[in-house]
Subunit: 121 residues, 2 copies
Amino acid sequence: MVVLQVVHYKTMIRDLNMELYGGIIGLLFLVFGIWLGTSSFRKRESVKYDAGKLGLSKREVEVLQLLSEGFSNQEVADRLFVSLNTAKTHISNIYSKLNVKRRTQAIQKARDLALITPSKE
Amino acid sequence: MVVLQVVHYKTMIRDLNMELYGGIIGLLFLVFGIWLGTSSFRKRESVKYDAGKLGLSKREVEVLQLLSEGFSNQEVADRLFVSLNTAKTHISNIYSKLNVKRRTQAIQKARDLALITPSKE
DNA sequence: TGCTAAATCACCCGAAAGAATGATCTAAAA
DNA sequence: TTTTAGATCATTCTTTCGGGTGATTTAGCA
């Protein structure tokens, strides 16, 4: 009987350890699962990288950002404290660098390439 | 010794069960974690609902979709097999219903309200 | 120190976009 | 059947966009 009790005691110890292990491993699985779930939905964010690749200057990226927020040429000019003509020059340069014809297309491309910061989504 | 062996045998059985349980519970945690991770990143999608609320006709939603894809007025007209004037009329009506002044703002609002189908993202 | 890229601004011109208004036609609802 | 909403198209007019070109200034690089 003593033998049995000793054995039983050992298994109880082991049970406790198992519970602890179970909890920890469960947590690990949980964390791993959350990581899996979120990482598949996270988007890569590389602003300066793509912008530099396309030859966009930081001023042009600023303009692009404002364009994407729905501002007119004049509003962009006002917000950057430059003349309308300057704003137009930047915008034209953006079009040629992005290889597009219209501002809507530029905005589209900027979104696709993650050149700009989305306001909502 | 027979007793010991029997007890040992039982614990082995239990160990096997524990491994199974552990695996299953781990899987459950994993699934739950993935669910947690993804659900916090999923977006609501209600197309016809908001469109109706704003009083947009289905034709206008069609036009809005094309606008968001970067098409010019003429291209929208061509794609819907209507005249340029008709396209412009639709677009104007969209602006007043969305309470915006420019097409870029209309596109923005349409995206925010999930009135349109995003091409990429 | 000269070269170069970036940023700034100007002027001109044509095309596109947008506002305002009115008209016709059709299908569905009252 | 009469109303009504949606879709269609037109005309006129103003504003905005976009292309093309050239000039000046400044800051960093070779």
